[in-house]
């Protein structure tokens, strides 16, 4: 195997949001450590899953990687270009290669724009075609590609169902011929019978255009299905990454183990026989994350060491990385 350079390199990425007090004289009283030192790479054509509970910073991570939020510190390289330092035309060129599909298809399409206007916006921004007519042709092609009828491009979002809207969101993401797409919980707002349609579409498009995905999700069953590699996030940092079957069959971090046992299985016999590690309580506040290992407050096997010392990020077995003192 040729060790090609990864398409996406994220290095020690941090994103803090200030917490302010006072109405007139606002002052920062602390920071929400939404993303706190995230590092990973994604190879060309690979799908990396990013999973974790709500509030762990996975959406912020996705948005910061695309430069939608300016990072507090850290680096992001997409196709060999540094996104953090790029400005002006150079930034625009990188953004053309990196797109996003949002979670809520009801909120991510402007209700007053036609489908044509929505899907052609990236084409206008990146000045990809000279005339409206050419752009319209491209929109029809894209709409066809995602399995909708090109006749529908002059309609408005409210005339479409949730699944169809998500297809429109996918068409918009594809418009600028990107290399990399952040899929931010693209199916969690959809009905079960529609989820599989959208997942299959995403896979077909990946095969066709050699796309690279960062698939952010909390549905661990779907992540196992769609992703090549999975990263588990807890309170702003990754605690474990591995190839999907390795991660699901041989999880090392106690948080990963707890997450996996919490996922219900559609099999009553298996479900009755299962032993669960039920995590106590909720995710602590990211304003003052716990010292040492961040998971120690909920960890069933926490030791004294975990409360003071941050565990090293190390390769426990080939390509299986974990941050835990007990492993």
């Amino acid at each position: 195997m040729i060790n090609a350079k990864p398409l996406v390199i994220v290095d020690k990425l941090k994103k803090y949001f200030p917490v302010t007090r006072g109405l007139v004289f606002q002052r920062a009283v602390g920071n929400v450590h939404a993303v706190d030192g995230l590092s990973f790479t994604i190879a060309r054509g690979e799908t990396l899953g990013l999973v974790g509970e709500s509030g762990c910073g996975k959406t912020t991570a996705g948005r910061t990687i695309l430069g939608l939020y300016p990072p507090t510190s850290g680096e992001v390289d997409i196709d060999g270009e540094n996104l953090v330092t790029a400005r002006g035309r150079k930034l625009l060129a990188i953004r053309r290669k990196a797109q996003i599909i949002f979670q809520d298809p009801y909120a991510s399409l402007n209700p007053r724009w036609t489908i044509n206007a929505i899907v052609s916006e990236p084409l206008r921004v990146h000045k990809l075609f000279a005339t409206d007519k050419e752009r319209s042709e491209r929109v029809k092609e894209l709409i066809n590609l995602v399995g909708l009828s090109p006749r529908l491009i002059n309609r408005f979002p409210h005339e479409f169902s949730g699944g169809q809207r998500q297809r429109i969101g996918i068409a918009r993401a594809l418009a600028s011929d990107p290399l990399f797409i952040v899929c931010d919980e693209p199916i969690s707002a959809l009905d079960v019978s529609i989820q599989a349609q959208v997942v299959n579409l995403l896979e077909d498009l990946q095969d066709k255009f050699g796309l690279t995905y960062l698939f952010i999700a909390h549905d661990l069953s779907m992540v196992r299905h769609i992703c090549d590699r999975v990263a588990v996030m807890y309170l702003g940092a990754i605690v474990e990454t591995a190839e999907r079957n390795e991660l699901y069959e041989n999880p090392l971090h106690p948080y990963t183990k707890a997450l996996l046992t919490a996922v219900p299985i559609a099999d009553p016999r298996k479900e009755r026989a299962r032993k669960r590690t039920i995590l106590i309580g909720d995710v602590p506040s990211p304003i003052n994350p716990p010292a040492g290992c961040r998971f120690h407050t909920r960890c069933p096997i926490a030791m004294e060491k975990c409360k003071v010392e941050i565990p090293d990020w190390r390769e426990a077995s080939p390509e299986h990385w974990v941050a835990c003192h007990a492993v």
């Binding site: 079960v192 529609i194 299985i265």
Partner: protein
Amino acid sequence: MTNNLLEVKDLKTRFHTPEGVIHAVNGVSFDLPEGSTLAVVGESGCGKSVTMMSILRLIAIPPGEIASGSALYRGKDLLKMSDGELEREVRGKEIAMVFQDPMTSLNPVLTIGYQLTESLRVHLDMNPQQCQKRAIELLELVGIPEPANRLRDYPHQYSGGMRQRVMIAMALSCSPSLLIADEPTTALDVTIQAQIVELVKSLREKVGLSIIWITHDLGVVAGLADRVVVMYSGFIVEEAEVDDIYEDPRHPYTIALLEALPRVDRRRHNRLKAIHGAPPNLLVEPHGCPFAPRCDAVIDRCLIENPELLQVNDGHKIACWVNVKTGDPR
């Protein structure tokens, strides 16, 4: 033999809207034996919530209309009861409901303690001291730490999982016999979902509840339910014991739903089998089987005549013209 806590027969609910009549529930019948747990599974808009809301007469009339049917609770028809009797004797006291969204079902400007004790004051006429004592017991029961100190908190001081625990505590406050849980874990993380499911299981044993659990997630109810009802477009399409639904599903919709679901405990071997098309438009009165346009096993008869829910095996009912095992018409 007649130890059914609840017997629903031929329930039909419609909504009269400016766009036309929405046929939300189209003749639903089921029984709930005392002490058992029934799961009602279906996608959004399949009528699962409206069915339960109709039983407790919680739908707005008009635009809603309960066109026919009966709902016998311990032999008394809830649909014919006077509003006063229903309010005094049943809702919250005998039958309690937990709703989907713990973020919006609590009043943000009232304390947890006040909201928790409301039904104690209304139904059981307790004085403030008794209320306080019972509220602390209830929060303890659902696993809220330091309950005495948290009664004066407001909902925003509680996390999502804790709010859902409060909702359950509230539902249990008058020791109801039946708990209707309408997608109680959908808005929660898997880890919190597991906590809530375990909590409900332990409560079921402790206080002997009967439960109706409404969900769109076939995974959640596998370890929880005794019987499962699958709904589509306002009809029950399959009903069976929990093991039969998962191991021997007979209706094409149930089969397709199970196949469209990836499994966390299995390696991927091929693409997901998607159900083509979209759920039906409820404004159109269905002719034929409502699932026919999306069904792979469809035959001519399906397009003309809607199959009745009939027994195929011991305790296993389906509404389908085709025997999916052989592909032959029935």
